[in-house]
């Protein structure tokens, strides 16, 4: 019985997704807000027959999915690593990189904190656990609670490279599931500090601080210390539907969506 069932079920299996479904996997930074809205705009502009599937568990989930063929586009908030490129190559897939937007990683503190500016050195010291108390850097005395992303996040790895000189996070950091949770916790904790993508820095109860005097606003995209690019990775032999969506992503109307969701457009 079970054999028959297996055979019947397995008999006409197709690969994931029919020709008109685009499956995207990867970064929570991109996949929570920006990509769903871009997809909706794309459909509204005359491509109503294309269907999207989005799963956003972290940038590191994009590359195994692309290698296994379970996703057609990978969203990543960090650049692909050497071993991930090779992993895809061994499965016969070469990836093309497309910049979809710029993001500024803003350091957020609780709204009631008197700290409004930090130097890069101070940020590094805080996030590596060297400085443990707000009093050491001019804030209201109290222990510093560090909120970070978890290890599947591209934001996590980017932050390590940009702000911490490659050093490890301290064991006392709390690893949250997404940008939103970090913002929520910092809003509730007077001694909290964290980093989020620009789109989340306007949450109620938090404020973004300037680094070395430069505020994280769009005009400062070239000078702000923690700017990074966000990417879409597409296999070289992607279907026409996928390529057409990628063209749309580079167009003006998609970049307007970028602006409206709080990212910096790639122009």
């Amino acid at each position: 019985m079970k054999t028959m069932q297996n055979i019947i079920l397995a008999a006409v299996l197709t690969a994931v997704g029919s020709a008109q479904t685009i499956s995207l996997k990867g970064s929570d930074t991109l996949g929570a807000k920006l990509i769903p809205q871009m997809a909706e705009k794309y459909k509204a502009e005359g491509h109503a027959d294309v269907k999207f599937e989005i799963a956003a568990e972290g940038s590191s989930t994009a590359f195994p999915a692309l290698a296994n063929g379970t996703a057609q586009i990978g969203m990543s908030s960090r650049q692909i690593k050497e071993e991930e490129t090779t992993e895809c190559k061994t499965k016969g897939i070469t990836l093309q990189e497309h910049i979809v937007c710029y993001d500024m990683l803003s350091v957020i503190v609780n709204k009631n904190s008197p700290v409004a500016n930090l130097t890069k050195a101070q940020v590094a010291k805080i996030f590596t656990g060297q400085v443990k108390d707000w009093a050491e850097i001019g804030g209201t005395p109290g222990p510093i609670s560090i909120y970070t992303r978890n290890t599947s996040s591209g934001t996590y790895k980017d932050w390590q490279k940009l702000a911490m000189d490659g050093r490890d996070y301290p064991a006392s950091s709390l690893k949250m599931a997404g940008n939103e949770q970090i913002a929520q916790e910092v809003a509730k904790n007077k001694g909290g500090i964290g980093y989020v993508g620009l789109a989340y820095s306007k949450t109620r109860g938090v404020k973004a601080i300037s680094i070395d005097g430069i505020a994280p606003v769009a005009d400062n995209k070239k000078t702000y210390a923690y700017s990074r690019e966000c990417f879409l990775y597409v296999p070289e032999n992607a279907s026409a539907a996928v390529n057409s969506f990628i063209e749309f992503v580079h167009s003006d109307s998609a970049q307007k969506v970028v602006d409206s969701t709080g990212f910096i457009n790639a122009k």
Partner: protein, 378 residues
């Protein structure tokens, strides 16, 4: 133990003190019990209070049908020139722009997953639940029949019972791991074009087809199979109970009349235990519907434009597609996207719909159980 003095009930002062202690202890226990009940009721109350406004409207037909039947979209909130506030899901928003142009939008903000309705997650949950219950019922009832009708004490039976007990206790995330490594990555598939990461390919006799052990990928099937494994022990235990509840006299009479074992089961035992089996499987549904960990890696996606049967080439295409699910939707809303009054509405609305579904199922199972009990007179 019971001492000499207590053999005779005491009256008077000592009796009264005994009474006071009695009352104190009883009220202490009652207090604990009702505290739990109170916390539970408060919890339900909070969910109802926050979720009902999303689901129920003040005009007929009193239910926000669009919340239940629309697909999930981004919510756009903006003002127009006169300062009138609009809250529109993405499709209506783009129509508004087409009609009035881009410049008529002021103070625009958008909230992912908070507009439209939750028909995608509801449908996904229903499909996952029905699929897994069907699989589990088939295998579980058969196993229960064997255990209650045919089994004699033997090492095999002992091993089976041990296995059921242990399966019941396995944590849900371990099932997620199991489902991921087995159903997503390793079960056999018959295809003409095996993937390169397949563990083993066995050529078959017709055409180009091979049986390739490459897994079903993240799909409805993998999710149903994982969830079925999860509730199998529950179904087996519940079915065994209902089968045992049928009086032995039925079987004896049937066997005495010359029926075979299978005929006895088919005609004299199963029909009478079916109601019990079905009601307990309804209760198992409530467990399965609320699980997130097993489906996180085997079937669920956060956003999906289509219901599974739209744009599919046949029933097997439906089975191999990924689905949204209510608990996963709630998880996305709570932990992944910026919180605001609009997302809170969507969150609590989803939670409320979920609790409502579960309540409907439980109540109907209890009603069915009562009716069946009344019909079966033994």
């Amino acid at each position: 133990m019971i001492s000499e003095e207590n053999l005779i009930r005491k009256k008077g002062k000592e009796g009264k003190r005994g009474k006071v202690v009695d009352r104190l202890v009883r009220s202490a226990f009652a207090g604990v019990t009702y505290a739990i009940v109170l916390v539970a009721l408060l919890l339900f109350g909070k969910i109802i209070k926050d979720g009902a406004p999303t689901l129920f409207t003040s005009e007929a037909p009193f239910i926000n049908v669009s919340f239940l039947l629309d697909k999930n979209e981004t919510l756009h909130v903006f003002d127009d020139e006169q300062g009138v506030r609009y809250k529109l899901p993405a499709s209506e928003y783009s129509e508004f722009i087409k009609k009035n142009g881009e410049d008529s939008i002021y103070n625009h903000s958008s909230y992912s997953y908070s507009g439209g309705g939750i028909v995608g997650p509801i449908v996904g949950t229903l499909l996952l639940t029905i699929g897994s219950i069907m699989i589990a019922l088939f295998f579980g009832v058969s196993a229960a029949i064997y255990l209650s009708e045919y089994a004699k004490e033997s090492p095999f039976i002992h091993a089976v019972r041990l296995a059921i007990l242990n399966l019941a206790g396995v944590p849900s995330i371990v099932f997620g791991l199991f489902g991921f490594s087995v159903f997503v990555l390793a079960v056999p598939v018959i295809t003409a074009d095996p993937s390169s990461r397949s563990l083993l390919t066995i050529p078959l006799f017709f055409g180009d087809y091979v049986m390739s052990f490459q897994g079903w990928n993240s799909s409805l099937m993998a999710g149903c199979a994982t969830l079925a494994c999860m509730i199998l022990p529950v179904i087996i235990t519940a079915s065994e109970e209902s089968l045992k509840a049928v009086p032995q006299g039925f079987r004896d009479a049937s066997l005495a009349l010359g029926a075979t074992r299978w005929q006895t089961i088919r005609r004299c035992v199963l029909p009478y235990s079916m109601p019990g089996i079905l009601t307990s499987s309804l209760l198992a549904i409530t467990r399965v519907a609320g699980e997130t960990a097993p489906i996180m890696f085997t079937a669920a996606v956060a956003a999906k434009d289509d219901l599974p049967w739209e744009g599919a080439d046949g029933p097997l295409d439906v089975l191999s597609s990924q689905v949204q699910a209510l608990p996963y939707h709630i998880y996305t809303l709570a932990a992944r996207i910026p919180n605001s009054e609009y997302t809170q509405q969507a969150q609590y609305g989803s939670v409320f719909v979920f609790i409502l579904l579960v309540a409907i199922l439980s109540i109907s199972s209890m009603v069915m159980r009562a009716k069946m009990r009344a019909k079966l007179k033994w």
